[in-house]
């Protein structure tokens, strides 16, 4: 982790045509540079390498199809540890061909399989239909024997037996339509049939016991077998149409029982055959997929890389001779040598006659911020980035976060035992990180924990430390060094209070009762004391304010480094100084009072110790003659500090805008000479082959003055900053009290928890 973001430079890459692909591939593997778009006005489909990208997309589509099929067949795709390199352009066609062949083969087999499956389903439906309609016919013929009401609707059997019925005499033909329909649609179907055919039909239906898959969608649902008998062609057509409308699957109805038996027989054998063929097809499909799955991962990564390379190449522009591509990149200065090496390697791989090379070019643009991280610091960096990314070369706050973030957490969490639990959990994650990384878990909660494993480890370790300071281990105190308090001294003196009171107050004013402070942290005796809470509250509250003010002052001091680095000395006086004065005069003084009270008042005169809060409030209202001062001259000093703090606000608000305005209007004469120097230096740079690019002296000021100056804009910006800072100081100090509040909450929660579980266990034990 570094103090500032990395120094960057703008470089031009001249990529010889023929080896440009390999060069970019090489650079991509290293991840060194950020490319700039050199043809922003060209829309995405008019760029040079669009056809290559399209080819990659086509390959991605095939791969997507392939992966879906592989997943459907429940075959695992083996992942390799190291990701494969982008394939050289010659190999691309080969991969493409392979993929296309696979796709064709697969779709052929899949189509066949689909056809077979559909066939099989149809045959099964047909079988069901035949079996069920037989029961209709039989039950109906039985009914007919009983009642006369079916005289006009002779069934097939009687028809074929008698040969001639009344209906045939009328010239009307009796027809049958039979098939399957989805269970949910039966009622609507029946209703429409009745309405359209005005009752000239008879519908009988029964549910199929098994759940059948739908022919088209493959959805499993309940079906119903129906048989419609009707008169006449007209009605027949209508029935047919209605059946179509409800997506019924119609099957020919057999003439008589013998035919039915025959059909059933042949169906049985056909179903058996189909099952065999289907099984074999599936086997074959599995083999193909198995083979494809072996290289699927490599292909996916390769195609992805290839597509990325062409996207990058689309950002480059062509030079006039069309012999090479020009790319502009931001590159860390320290990595220029690596960049050259990568280009050489790329040229060698691409068999280019002329090597590709780098040319550093000057630029006035603000370079991107690069902060290098490793697995330890990346978590902290991402916490900082959640708030914002610093400007180029600004001081990075992340290194300090490594300490402050876990520490502030620990102040709130402070418990030796719990801290230990957290650290052990984090330690386990850290030690097994290689194994966990490989698993690539997609569980969001787990990955959050895992990515923050080093943060959690630090938080745990700091909690152990603060737990020791608070002397809290699972809300119990540890007596390691022996308490500094002893009640014995009060016994030997035969004190009256000892005999008359049930509760004892240890009086430090008795000699021998308090033998000196506990060597480290809080004396364990406080754990038994009745006034434990008020003691700890007072301590933690003050500690929170002290930590908060120190933390905030540190942040303000860091800004000095920015001002100095950007050569904006005026900012030190016009921004930093008033900011620091405001903070220190108000809250720094509060910290001073806290320490003063700790040092100035001992056990003997503790009853006269004043309330800091009252003094601090009096400081603002500039009163307090009626209370005794902490030290001589307190009133005067306090009034002085408040006035300084109040005065620094207008300086902060108006100082910078007015100074910049002055520079813009009156300071021009002063600048001219420097501007001349600047021009000369640039012309010198042009002569040298590799221009050394350094921050110009007073560049910050130059930049500000050279730009079109908008006073209102600057003033607005500054007033927002002022309001934010002043209110921030006050509200942040209050917010740091949360350290105390949460620490209190944590300790209280677990001590009550302990009490309850213990009393519960005890009561259980007595019951037993």
């Amino acid at each position: 982790m570094v103090f500032r973001s990395e120094e960057m430079c703008l470089a031009q890459l001249f990529l010889q045509s023929g080896s440009e692909y390999d060069c970019i591939s090489e650079l991509g593997e290293l991840g060194l540079v950020e490319f700039r778009d050199l043809n922003p006005s060209v829309s995405s489909f008019q760029r040079r390498f669009v056809s290559e990208i399209k080819r990659c997309e086509e390959m991605e589509r095939i791969l997507g199809y392939l992966l879906r099929e592989i997943q459907k067949a429940n075959i695992a795709v083996p992942e390799e540890d190291e990701s494969p390199l982008a394939p050289p352009p010659r190999q691309v066609l080969e991969i493409m061909e392979q993929l296309q062949r696979l796709e064709m083969e697969l779709s052929e087999v899949a189509k066949n399989k689909e056809k077979l499956r559909r066939n099989l389903l149809e045959l099964t439906e047909y079988t069901h239909m035949l079996k069920i309609t037989r029961t209709f016919i039989h039950s109906r013929s039985r009914h007919e024997a009983l009642g006369p009401q079916y005289e006009e609707f002779p069934t097939m059997e009687t028809d074929s037996v008698s040969g001639c019925t009344g209906m045939q005499r009328l010239g009307a033909k009796l027809g049958f339509v039979s098939g399957l329909i989805q269970r949910v649609k039966v009622e609507a179907f029946e209703r429409m049939l009745w309405r359209v055919c005005k009752g000239y039909t008879i519908l009988s239906y029964a549910e199929v016991d098994e759940n059948l898959a739908d022919l088209d969608t493959g959805e499993i649902s309940k079906s119903v077998v129906f048989l419609i008998s009707f008169w006449g062609d007209q009605i027949g057509q209508k029935v047919q149409k209605i059946c179509d409308c409800y997506h019924c699957h119609l099957y020919p109805h057999p003439e008589n029982d013998e035919e039915r038996a025959d059909v059933l027989d042949s169906l049985r054998t056909r179903i058996q055959d189909l099952n065999n063929v289907l099984h074999r097809t599936e086997e074959y499909l599995r083999q193909v997929l198995q083979k494809a799955s072996e290289s699927a991962y490599t292909w996916v990564v390769q195609v992805k890389k290839m597509k990325a390379i062409y996207h990058i190449l689309n950002l480059c522009s062509f030079d006039v001779t069309n012999k090479c591509l020009i790319a502009e990149v931001w590159c860390p200065v320290s990595d220029l040598a690596n960049l050259r090496g990568a280009l050489e390697e790329g040229s060698r791989k691409g068999d280019a006659t002329v090597p590709s090379f780098v040319n550093r070019i000057p630029s006035n643009d603000t370079p991107p911020t690069l902060l290098r991280t490793n697995k330890f610091t990346s978590g902290f960096q991402s916490i900082v980035e959640a708030y914002g990314v610093g400007d180029y070369r600004e001081v990075s706050p992340a290194p300090y976060t490594i300490i402050t973030f876990p520490f502030l957490f620990a102040v709130m969490f402070g418990d030796l035992g719990h801290g230990m639990v957290i650290s052990l959990f984090a330690l386990w994650m850290v030690l097994t990180e290689k194994k966990q990384n490989k698993k690539r878990s997609s569980n969001e909660i787990w990955t959050t924990f895992f990515n923050g494993r080093y943060i959690i480890l630090m938080m745990g370790l700091f909690s152990v430390y603060t737990g020791l300071v608070y002397n809290d281990c699972f809300s119990k105190s540890l007596n390691i060094f022996g308490s500094g308090w002893s009640v014995k001294a009060m016994f030997t003196n035969q004190n009256k209070t000892l005999q008359t009171n049930a509760l004892l107050t240890l009086d430090p004013n008795f000699s021998g009762v308090f033998s000196g402070p506990y060597p480290f942290g809080i004396d364990p005796i406080w754990n038994m004391a009745v006034n434990r809470l008020s003691f700890l509250n007072s301590y933690k509250m003050k500690m929170s304010v002290v930590i908060g003010v120190v933390h905030m002052s540190f942040g303000v001091v860091l800004s000095v480094f920015n001002h100095l680095h950007f050569r904006q000395k005026f900012n030190v006086f016009l921004l930093f100084l008033p900011e620091l004065l405001f903070l220190l005069c108000l809250f720094g003084y509060l910290v001073f009072m806290i320490f003063y009270k700790w040092l100035a008042f001992g056990a003997r005169d503790s009853s006269q110790a004043p309330s800091i809060l009252i003094h601090f409030i009096n400081m603002f209202v500039m009163q307090g003659k009626d209370i005794t001062p902490l030290y001589p001259g307190q009133m005067g000093l306090q009034i002085f500090l408040v006035i300084i703090a109040m005065l620094s606000v207008p300086v902060l608000l108006l100082g910078k805008p007015l100074y910049l305005y002055w520079l813009y209007r009156g300071g021009k004469g002063l600048r001219r000479r420097r501007g001349y120097e600047r021009v000369r230096r640039v012309s010198e740079d042009d002569n040298s082959t590799a221009p050394s690019y350094e921050d110009d002296e007073e560049e910050g000021v130059d930049e500000v003055t050279n730009r079109e100056f908008d006073f209102a804009d600057v003033l607005l910006h500054q007033s927002i900053h002022t309001i934010e800072y002043c209110l921030g100081c006050i509200s942040n100090t209050a917010s740091y009290l949360r350290l105390w509040a949460l620490s209190l909450a944590h300790a209280r929660k677990f001590s009550t928890n302990n009490q309850f579980t213990l009393s519960f266990l005890c009561s259980n034990a007595t019951l037993c």
Binding site: S43, F45, K54, R61, K185, M192, D244, C245, Y246
Partner: protein
């Protein structure tokens, strides 16, 4: 109900948020500009990938064609609509159903005319708009007269109430089918209009102008299309939806109109429609009055998004998205037929 805005979000807040989010994905002028520059459908696909349509066109294995683009866009709209519909609570669900009735009417009429031309139902069904799909659709061709159509097939569908005026025993031919469509649509629009008027809150304020505009547009188009047919003025006036701004005086005048000039005279009495029938200014490109109606419709629908806590946004979103599909298909059509000069005749939605 007063203060219904207070509880609007309890039932419909999620869907309103959803639809507003989807509206943000409507193509902008810049997108159209880029699309119009394309030389092939592949280019268009590439460009559409960078919009909210994403991988819509690239996921299919078929070759790109205008009809594929059309069906994919329609599929997309239906997916979005069914997502809204399946999450809707009453009365929003009723409102959304009302939107589909219009498409159902179109489907019914298309199936009837198809059946008259002896087309196969299986061939007609894929051409029906999926938003207006219903179970009994395929059986529509069976009916011979509107009465039969009503009593046998459509009585179970939500279209049944719109048949009150449309029931007749004359044989269905193409003309009759067209009249049936207009009668159904008239009943539908009037019913939708009164439904929206009864709605509490801003829904009525937003939806009524939109529906009134729709009613007037139909009246104009019926009139213009009836010139040269044997449809009399009295017949015509029974087809005009009676819920628009033209009702009643404008409609009476329209029924008397006999040529385009007289229609123009009627329109000139109404500020909203005056511009639509005006002759194009010399120098500007010619736009048919249908296109101008579309433009006006888009403007009205955009207005719906200015207010909150009402159902108008759902209707407007569907209509805008439909217009967008028409635009994309138009551009695709121009691109494939190399008619670059007409490519800019689409109707931009968001300026």
């Amino acid at each position: 109900r007063p203060f219904c805005e207070l509880s609007f979000n309890v039932d419909h807040g999620y869907l309103e948020g959803l639809v507003r989010g989807m509206k943000a994905g409507i193509l902008t002028q810049a997108d159209y500009h880029n699309l119009a520059q394309c030389d092939t459908l592949e280019d268009m696909k590439l460009h559409l990938q960078s919009t909210d349509y994403g991988k819509l066109l690239s996921s299919s294995e078929e070759d790109l064609s205008v009809s594929l683009v059309d069906s994919k866009l329609r599929e997309n709209l239906v997916t979005e609509f069914s997502c809204l519909r399946s999450n809707a609570l009453p009365p929003l669900s009723t409102f959304l159903d009302y939107i589909t009735y219009g498409y159902m009417i179109d489907n019914v009429v298309m199936l009837i005319t198809g059946a008259l031309k002896q087309r196969d139902v299986a061939e007609l069904l894929p051409r029906c708009h999926p938003l207006g799909g219903f179970d009994q659709m395929a059986a529509v061709g069976i009916a011979r007269t509107p009465t039969e159509l009503y009593s046998a097939i459509l009585v179970d569908t939500p279209l049944a109430p719109f048949f009150q005026d449309a029931v007749s025993d004359s044989n269905l031919d193409e003309m009759e089918a067209e009249i049936l469509r207009n009668k159904l649509y008239k009943a539908y629009l009037e019913s939708f209009h009164s439904f929206c008027k009864k709605m509490s809150g801003a829904t009525g304020d937003i939806m009524c102008p939109v529906l009134e505009f729709e009613a007037d547009r139909r009246a104009f188009i019926i009139t213009v299309n009836s010139f040269g047919t044997d449809l009399s003025g009295a017949d015509r006036s029974s087809l005009y939806p009676a819920c628009g701004k033209l009702y009643p005086d404008g409609l009476r005048l329209l029924a008397l109109a006999e040529d385009h000039e007289q229609v123009k005279a009627v329109a000139s009495c109404y500020t909203d429609y005056k511009a639509i029938f005006e002759d194009p200014e010399p120098g500007s490109e010619f736009k048919s009055f249908e296109d101008r109606f579309f433009e006006q419709e888009v403007k009205l629908n955009i207005l719906a998004f200015l207010q909150q806590f009402h159902f108008g946004v759902f209707y407007s979103y569907i209509k805008l998205k439909e217009q967008e599909s028409r635009n994309i298909v138009w551009i695709a059509e121009c691109v494939t037929q190399r008619q670059k000069s007409k490519i800019h005749n689409y109707i931009p939605i968001i300026q």
